[in-house]
């Protein structure tokens, strides 16, 4: 495909979500029903358009840029970097976003404020694509902040709910803490290397460890990694399709995506930190997923765990494996979330929003396999991909990462990774069991979700299955596009299958064990710590306020009073001591005292005269 055509098509994919958002915001409330349909069709067209450059351009890399900001010797280009990586990522973003849009037609059908909902979904999709395409890191950062804002607004979609607005604030503030570090890192990198253009940076530049760590802190916040992860489980207050798009498939993966592009620039120290944080988060969040009972929170912890897994791979240099896993994860996790959304939707219909029946608590669910067979099928495939069962996409990328980990020859890392491989099937099987397979604990009449909600789940599930290519090799859409050569030692293949089977077996044996309500200490600890930090900040703020009133204002008042007192004293001296002695001098003194008094008391009409007189006296005095 010719270069300009690629450019136009990529720009079209950027603008279509904007158009969708614009329509959503502009259309009158009376025609509100139009918004979901039109938005979904627009997004679908964008998803189709992106396929052309994706399929036609192969491994070509091209940058189209123009100056956005220039000052002195510094300039920033706004541009589109069209590489296999960005095209593929954009395609995944658009496909998932389209599926979420279509799903939302059914999900928000009885809700108010669909304009705001679809509007911000459109803005989010635009911002996410901008983040992916951008050829300059400062522009990337702009979109990075913008996706955070959309996330904030969509978490607080049900803004009348205090919990939702609290969760939104928390999410924004914690990610903002990371973003500030990210910005510092970018500025340091900019000053050190003189540029933030990605194509230039990736050919030979090195970020200092300090800059690298600062950038990485931004990623930790955005991708909800230890210790800045505790906003993500709360963010599940947002509508479920939003969680699928933003808090599972795309925005939280943005940090990984930026590192996929930047990893070659980092020093080994930074990379080790990335690995360490990744492993910690992956292990910790797996525990969190095991302890949680809310279906969405389980999936949220699972997301944290998987993102940590990718970070670990990135830190070890397994960039293509991490990226492939990111793309695979986007599909199967979005599928899982949308299935959960379908379940929640159907149960709300069945229970008529009874307040005492928590439809998201997996202990209340069960038996949905019969009542929602297609959703079950979709969920099961996506869960299999998450667990890394052969013939799914998750299996492929997991094997790649396992191979790299093994090459490191570090027993603790290897051990940690196998624990993750064991834990993931365990918690996802339990979720599957409690929602679909276990005999129902209730006697509700539940109907399968409408078609607009089933199809997206099935599409995402279909994307999570591998296929055979001509050399008899299993490939996924991602590995095929990236033309990855996957060579995995046989024992790792066998080992991972064995470990996964063992996990499933344990899960099966313990299937009837009751789930007790247990707290996840790390989450609680961090929440508590955040609360203390906020208390401390507000305390310091109040202290500053008191200081402002008592000391700064106080000293000003003292000064004013002393001036008034001085004026009175001059007046007194004037009357009692000087008066009658030298009447001429007295007159002048009284005049001065009067001026001082009148200034202090606010009679300032004479001020201008006074100032000019002062000026003249001063000039004459100085000249003399």
């Amino acid at each position: 495909m010719s270069e300009s055509n690629t450019l136009y098509l990529l720009i079209a994919t950027l603008l279509i979500p904007v158009a969708s958002a614009g329509i959503a915001f502009v259309v009158k409330e009376k025609y509100g029903w139009l918004i979901p349909v039109v938005s979904s069709l627009l997004l679908l067209s964008a998803a189709v358009i992106i396929l052309f450059p994706l399929l036609a351009d192969g491994q070509q890399t091209e940058t189209y840029a123009t100056t956005w900001l220039s000052i002195g010797t510094t300039s920033v280009q706004v541009g589109i970097l069209s590489s296999p990586v960005t095209r593929l990522m954009a395609a995944v973003v658009l496909v998932v976003s389209t599926m979420v849009h279509i799903f939302s037609i059914g999900y928000v059908v009885h809700e108010k404020n669909t304009d705001r909902y679809f509007g911000f979904l459109g803005v989010f999709t635009f911002a996410m694509l901008g983040l992916v395409y951008s050829s300059n890191l400062l522009v990337t950062f702009c979109f990075w902040e913008l996706v955070g804002f959309c996330s904030y607004r969509l978490i607080a979609h049900k803004q009348y709910k205090p919990a939702a607005s609290r969760a939104a604030t928390k999410a924004f503030l914690i990610t903002k803490a990371g973003d500030v570090a990210f910005l510092i890192g970018l500025l340091l990198l900019w000053i050190q290397t003189g540029t933030l253009e990605l194509p230039t940076l990736t050919t030979g530049a090195t970020a200092s460890t300090l800059a690298g760590i600062c950038i990485f802190i931004g990623v930790v916040g955005k991708s909800a990694q230890f210790p800045l992860f505790n906003w993500l489980p709360d963010a599940m207050q947002g509508p479920t399709p939003v969680s699928a798009l933003i808090h599972a498939a795309t925005m939280v993966a943005a940090g990984i995506f930026v590192l996929v592009q930047l990893a070659p620039v980092f020093t080994p120290e930074t990379l080790w930190l990335i690995t360490g944080v990744g492993v910690t988060s992956a292990l910790m969040a797996a525990v969190g997923a095991w302890l949680a009972t809310d279906i969405k929170k389980i999936l949220a912890y699972s997301t944290i765990s998987q993102l940590g897994f990718m970070l670990m791979a990135l830190g070890l240099g397994e960039i293509s494996g991490a990226f492939a896993h990111l793309l695979h994860h986007a599909f199967f996790k979005a599928g899982l979330f949308l299935s959960a959304g379908a379940i929640i939707h159907s149960l709300h219909q069945a229970t008529h929003h009874q307040p005492d029946f928590d439809v998201q608590d997996i202990r209340n669910l069960g038996g949905l396999r019969k009542q929602m067979p297609l959703t079950f099928a979709g969920f099961a495939v996506c869960a299999a991909a998450l667990a890394g069962i052969p013939a799914t996409t998750g299996y492929l990328s997991k094997e790649m990462i396992l191979t790299t980990v093994h090459q490191q020859n570090l027993w603790w890392l290897e051990f940690a990774v196998w624990v993750i491989v064991f834990a993931t099937p365990l918690y996802i099987f339990r979720l599957l069991w409690f929602t679909f397979l276990k005999p129902a604990a209730h006697t509700l009449h539940i109907q399968e979700a409408p078609w607009v909600m089933r199809i997206p789940v099935l599409v995402l599930a279909a994307g999570s299955v591998t296929f055979l290519v001509y050399k008899g090799q299993l490939q996924s859409f991602a590995t095929q596009m990236l033309q990855l050569q996957i060579s995995v030692p046989a024992w790792i293949m066998v080992g991972s299958v064995v470990v996964t089977s063992m996990a499933l077996l344990v899960g099966w044996l313990r299937r009837n064990a009751r789930i007790r309500q247990r707290e996840f200490i790390i989450q609680n600890f961090l929440d508590e710590w955040n609360a203390q930090l906020i208390l401390l900040t507000t305390f310091v703020a109040r202290l500053a306020n008191v200081f402002d009133r008592k000391w700064i204002d106080g000293s000003i008042h003292a000064l004013a009073y002393s001036k008034v007192a001085l004026a009175h004293m001059v007046g007194w001296a004037d009357k009692n001591i000087v008066d009658g002695t030298v009447s001429g001098i007295t007159h002048i003194t009284r005049g001065l005292g009067g001026v001082a008094r009148s200034v202090v008391n606010g009679k300032i009409q004479s001020y201008l005269l006074w100032a000019i007189a002062g000026l003249l006296i001063f000039i004459i005095w100085m000249l003399y």
């Binding site: 900001l69 002195g72 400062l138 510092i184 000053i191 500053a544 000039i619 000249l623």
Partner: protein
Amino acid sequence: MPYLSLLIFVPVLAALIALVIPTRYTRAFPWLTLAATVLQLFIFIAMATHFNPADGLQLSEKKSWISVSLSNWGHLQADYFVAVDGLSFPLVGLSVVIMLIATISSWSVSKSRKGYFILLLILNAAIIGSFCALDFLLFYVFFEFMLLPMFFLIGIWGGPKREYASIKFFLYTLLGSIFILIVMVGLYLSVQPPESSNQVHTFNVLHMQNQENFIPGSVLDATGSGTWRLWAFAILFIGFAIKLPAVPFHTWLPDAHVEAPTAISVILAALLLKIGGYGILRFVYPVFPDGAVYFSDWVAGIGVVSIIYGALNALASKDLKRLIAYSSVSHMGFVLLGIASATTEGIAGAVYQMVSHGIISAMLFLIAGVLYDRTNDRLIENYSGLALPMKHYTAFVLIAFFASLGLPGFSGFIGEVLIFFGAFQSHTLNNLVPFWMPLVATLGLLLGAGYYLWTIQRMFFGPFAIKTMHTELNDLTPREYSMLLPLAILAFLFGILPQLLLNYINPFAENFIGLWFSLGLNANP
């Protein structure tokens, strides 16, 4: 065409016309003022077509103003000298737009309209005059003419504690202007025009900026011992820092803002504070570059303290308007940080931040005014869930708050990024700002997000309730729309197309830094 004189004297003319209109025609005064400000907008647009950023100071008008022979004491000479460059041009444009919006906002004023609008027009002329004047005495006159209308506008048309607030405002700024006066006289006595004979002095700022024009042996002689020059720098800096306002000279601001009527708050935040930053960039730094180098970490330090201290105070504010006022202190601290870095990016960022803050703070105060007009109550804790009855209002609140906390896509972000770039770079480039200072300043970004989000959460989200009263709340009226929408568009436009503004600012910033390099003052690692 004498564009600048037209800009300055159109409101003066309108004020004279207003003076002869009988007081009972109360509807005439706002319309007259509106006509004058719209005319100014057209004049500005016409002027913009003749303005070429690369040319430096231009559109200048110079006429002899005061010329008094003082026999053997020499010759007192002051000129009516106005011109604009890349620094003042954006600020003049900002003034024209803000004055127009303030006029629309003043429509609801009912108490003695004649006096109000005449004072508003005088204020208008004085502000634009201050931004254009290049003769120090002329600047000083304009500067003083700004204070009196402001004093009365707060003291007569303000809130319950207006008298305290207005006197405090006046005394503070009076102190500032006395400081400026002292240094101005010192400069007058120390500088002479290049080609003239002895005993002739000048108020011309351009001459003051050239170190060769200082009379050898005079008080502020550039080649002398320099102690007096450092004092002069410090005093002049404080004079403008009060206006900015920088901590600890800021406490007039929250009181003045809280008591001032909406339109006056808007002018105060959007324009009057900018005189402080403008003065530092036009007078303090170019005239005393040696002092600027000597005091650079103090300037940056005051900036950082303002950023953090202002943000903390905003966080503790219970009154919406007070919160916005303290956020202004915080945001103007960035201007100081940028200036102190003495890098092209830092200087340009400071100017950008001033224009951006002008737009965004105007929006913020209008927003506070919208609510106050409806309920006469600004306490944050008394509201909850305002998003429900006031959907459009909430949309503008979100835009203004997020623009102010530096969300990319709005102008505030560009200014802050450039300032931080300059401040971080300064450490390696000229060693004027220590590395930890911008690092600490970034905390201000986080605190900013904190107080705005908390306010949104408490006032706009959650279930709808107003503690003190049970009235229906109407959403924005067309008049309020007409004020908020243009500002939102400007903030957005300057956020996504920074070059629109940087094309004007860049030549100034490069020139400014070039002057420094030519003095060899930057090279002290």
